[in-house]
């Protein structure tokens, strides 16, 4: 029996540079710079005060009416995932329970879900209000908290912040009862989730899956953590749009972002049978880790070389056949250099030819949300045969000798590779192929 093949039939993205794949892709082609001064909270005492935030964002308009009340128990990360799932499922043309309660056209047990998630930050206003009911002599009083204070938190408080609640809400809305998982490996989460979900389809445990990731780091804890790690750009508060410069000679750090991307992966025969629009085929997946990643104050490459080689082997292609690389591109100088070095090791001289297009220059670091967005953009690039430019990649840094396209590139794109590693050293790579009917 031939190995089952997996195709991408739906894309759902929620990003600072656009919500919905058509809007995002058009904005990226136009070189959108969506990083701005943060106004979701007052960042004035933080050394970095910019980020890629979603303005006026709420999941309320994207959930079935009967589910609207549940939005109250969704952390922002969950809302992003719910919206991305709604967009992706609609884009695919599959009628799930969430889209059409009357006549779903996919068997629930055959629809899986695999969403990468991050360490969610409690709403500090909500928790702070409760904590401040239990203060004695200016300090938190745990005795008062145990007796009374904790009752100020809503009973479902904990459920807002469990990482698997992204996939939980999405599976409930869409009645996705098949294999379900939540990967928590920072910036590699989305890549790993998509790769793993594709494998569940290959081995026949599901016929379709909602896969990708979502996260919001635009909150005081997210920004604090990026700053404490010295990964945040602190020189761009007056020019946010130009501040994050992945692989560029003037790269000086990263910025927090929020967003997510979910893909509908589908068994190719099923997609063909129903005449689905197919963006691309998932042909390669690789994962790896770097035992040096534990020294997180040092930049390492997370062994993305191992992940990329495994993905190329899985796809059965040579590095030179890849026509687009979407790397992590954090814009932290040492991390960019480590990543570019690993890309050079795998691609050799071709690394200077193949367009590399990190999306972080446009929208900041989406962490667990990044992989799904990167893969959605790669799928769209293959479908439209158009590569967007590398925003803020004016001149590649000497130790990042990659091809950062200044303008969109048309045509001739057969394979796209998305790769990322996270602080701590795990990495994932996924290769998509142009769909040939």
């Amino acid at each position: 029996m031939a190995r089952r093949r997996v195709v991408v039939t739906g894309l759902g993205v929620v990003t600072p540079a656009g919500t919905g794949i058509e809007a995002l892709f058009a904005n990226l082609l136009a070189g959108a710079r969506a990083i701005k001064r943060i106004d979701l909270f007052d960042p004035s005492t933080f050394p970095c005060q910019i980020g890629g935030q979603l303005n006026g964002f709420s999941a309320r308009d994207f959930v079935p009416k009967s589910y609207r009340k549940a939005v109250k128990v969704m952390a922002r990360d969950i809302e992003i995932a719910v919206v991305a799932a709604d967009l992706a499922v609609r884009d695919s043309g599959i009628a799930t329970k969430g889209i059409d309660n009357g006549a779903p056209d996919i068997e629930s047990s055959r629809l899986g879900c695999n969403i990468g998630a991050g360490l969610m930050c409690a709403d500090l206003d909500e928790l702070g209000a409760a904590v401040n009911t239990s203060v004695t002599d200016g300090a938190f009083d745990i005795v008062a908290w145990g007796r009374e204070g904790m009752n100020n938190l809503t009973p479902l408080w904990l459920l807002k912040y469990l990482p698997n609640m992204l996939s939980c809400h999405v599976t409930i809305i869409h009645a996705a009862k098949g294999p379900s998982n939540t990967i928590t490996c920072g910036e590699a989460s989305g890549h790993l989730a998509v790769g793993e979900a594709a494998r569940t389809i290959v081995r026949g445990a599901a016929d379709a899956a909602i896969a990708g990731g979502a996260e919001s780091k635009v909150n005081p804890m997210g920004l604090l953590r990026l700053c404490l790690l010295n990964r945040a750009v602190t020189t761009g508060n007056d020019s946010p749009g130009e501040a994050v410069r992945p692989m560029d000679v003037r790269h000086a750090g990263s910025a927090v972002g929020e967003g997510g991307g979910l893909l509908i992966l589908e068994d190719r025969d099923r997609a063909d049978r129903r005449g689905a629009r197919i963006y691309a085929e998932v042909v390669g997946f690789g994962a790896a880790c770097d035992p040096g990643g534990v020294d997180y104050l040092q930049a390492t490459d997370g062994n993305i070389g191992g992940a990329m080689r495994a993905a190329l082997r899985d796809a059965g292609i040579a590095p030179a056949q890849v026509g687009l690389i979407i790397p992590n591109g954090t814009a932290v100088a040492a991390e960019d250099a480590a990543e570019a070095r690993a890309i050079r090791e795998v691609f050799g001289e071709d690394a200077g030819r193949i367009p590399s297009v990190p999306l972080t220059g446009s929208m900041g670091n989406l962490f667990a949300g990044a992989g799904g967005v990167d893969l959605a953009v790669a799928a769209m690039a293959l479908h439209r045969q158009t590569i967007p430019p590398a925003v803020n990649g004016d001149e590649a840094a000497a130790d990042c000798p990659l091809n950062l396209p200044a303008e969109p590139i048309e045509g001739g794109l057969d394979y796209a590779l998305c790769v990322s590693a996270t602080v701590g050293g795990q990495s994932g790579a996924v290769i998509l192929k142009r769909y040939e009917p």
């Binding site: 745990i142 908290w145 145990g146 007796r147 698997n164 609640m165 928590t184 990495s427």
Partner: protein
């Protein structure tokens, strides 16, 4: 042909012992891991007790530089991993291929820096809401890059990769109480597919901190039997009133069968079935009919090519919450039909409490030991039969029985169901 996957090493740090054999003898000897919470002052909390790891220190050879900032659950995992790695005979360098060896854990987030985090909420509080500018000023003085970064849920994987020197596929999944069962299942799939020849798997978690306790108390998920602590966790008993929060880590080494055989590795059991499903029901409750749980069990049976008649023992999720234990019973009946009353079922959570993300891997270890010794660990504290839970729960006393094939269930908040099946080699 499917590549076969065997368990070649195991290690754990639990409230009932800091190694596999101590855990096992404690479970069979009727010990309880439960006690008054000592990690913080819970004296006024509605639940004053938990199941804590006691008297544990990181072994000297692990307490060096790169692990010195490791969080509490990461320390558990490091000790457990070293035990598993040595048991598998992989302790000496050069006996494994680092690029063909990976890690797949279902570990929880690290414990937060409670004191500083909470003091910031007080000192940064403004008019009805946080004054984030004031908060930020204090935060940069008080918060530590290590305490913050070590909370990321992938950091246990990072520490294990560093200690063992592996470079293969590395994942962490966090599907609540099902996490380490799911991790073991996915690690099995990675070896089967050929992405790796060996995987270190399992999980680690500690939520015994004020906000973890608060969260579960507000959900009314915990037992409130402050006056009867050792008997508070009583899976399947009519008078059960909630689970008992535990902590710990359990790690297993999985290897491809042929390679394990060729190097003469100890082969403790074979993983032959894995099933995963989602309830897609409600965020708060399990599907009362247990359809999702049943789907996970059926998927595992199908994966293993077995029928319910082949299962000798079920290690239940059995949390001691009113809902879980009756739903799980219903699901087992749905899958096993007429045979359900004849299959021994037990939950070690009566003695051990609920290790959350680490629960599934810990229970899998007890399944492997049950297989080895032909003894089923009992359901502790079972006294009053519940008409809704009318199966054979192996109450209170270990049962000797020849065991060849065992099923282990884990169900997570949010309707995450995972089932594994292991078999004697």
């Amino acid at each position: 042909m499917k590549r076969r996957v065997v368990i070649t090493g195991m290690g754990c740090v639990t409230p009932l012992g800091h190694d596999v054999e101590t855990l096992w003898s404690s479970l069979l000897g009727g010990d309880s891991g439960l006690g008054v919470t000592e990690l913080f002052d819970a004296s006024t909390f509605p639940t004053t007790f938990s199941s804590q790891v006691k008297g544990f220190d990181l072994p000297a050879e692990l307490a060096d530089g790169r692990h010195r900032h490791a969080g509490r659950h990461t320390r558990f995992a490091l000790a457990a991993a070293l035990e598993a790695w040595r048991a598998a005979g992989l302790g000496d360098s050069g006996r494994f291929d680092p690029d063909r060896t990976g890690i797949y854990l279902g570990s929880g987030e690290g414990s937060l820096d409670f004191e500083n985090f909470t003091s910031l909420l007080v000192d940064g509080w403004g008019e009805q809401k946080l004054d984030t500018a004031a908060w930020g000023r204090h935060a940069f003085e008080r918060m530590s890059v290590h305490r913050e970064t070590e909370q990321e849920a992938n950091m246990v994987v990072a520490h294990l990769a560093a200690e063992l020197g592996v470079r293969g596929p590395a994942f962490n999944c966090l599907t609540a109480c099902a996490a380490s069962t799911q991790a073991t299942g996915e690690a099995t799939q990675i070896i089967r597919y050929g992405d790796a020849d060996a995987m270190v798997t399992g999980g680690a978690h500690s939520m015994i901190h004020p906000y973890g306790m608060t969260g579960f108390i507000r959900l009314t998920a915990l037992s409130g039997r402050n006056d009867d602590i050792p008997r508070a966790s009583r899976p399947f008993d009519l008078t059960r009133d909630g689970f008992v929060l535990g902590e710990g880590a359990s790690i297993l080494v999985l290897e491809e069968y042929e390679l394990a055989a060729s190097r003469g590795a100890p082969m403790l059991a074979e993983i032959i079935g894995y099933g995963s499903s989602a309830d897609a029901y409600r965020i708060t409750d399990q599907d009362p009919e247990g359809e999702g749980a049943a789907a996970g069990m059926r998927a595992a049976l199908e994966d293993a090519g077995l029928t319910p008649a082949d299962i000798d023992y079920i290690s239940a999720h059995g949390t001691s919450t009113p809902l879980n234990d009756s739903v799980e019973t219903r699901a087992i009946k749905a899958v096993f039909g007429d045979r359900a009353p004849d299959v021994p079922i037990s939950s070690v959570k009566g003695a051990l409490g609920h290790l959350i993300a680490a629960a599934g891997a810990t229970e899998l270890i007890t399944c492997v030991l049950a297989l080895r010794d032909g003894i089923i660990p009992p359901t502790a504290n079972y006294q009053v039969p519940d008409p809704e839970c009318d199966l054979d729960y192996v109450p209170n006393v270990p049962r000797k029985m020849e065991l060849n094939t065992i099923m282990s269930n884990s169900f997570g908040f949010g309707g995450q169901n995972d089932t594994l099946i292991i078999r004697r080699i």
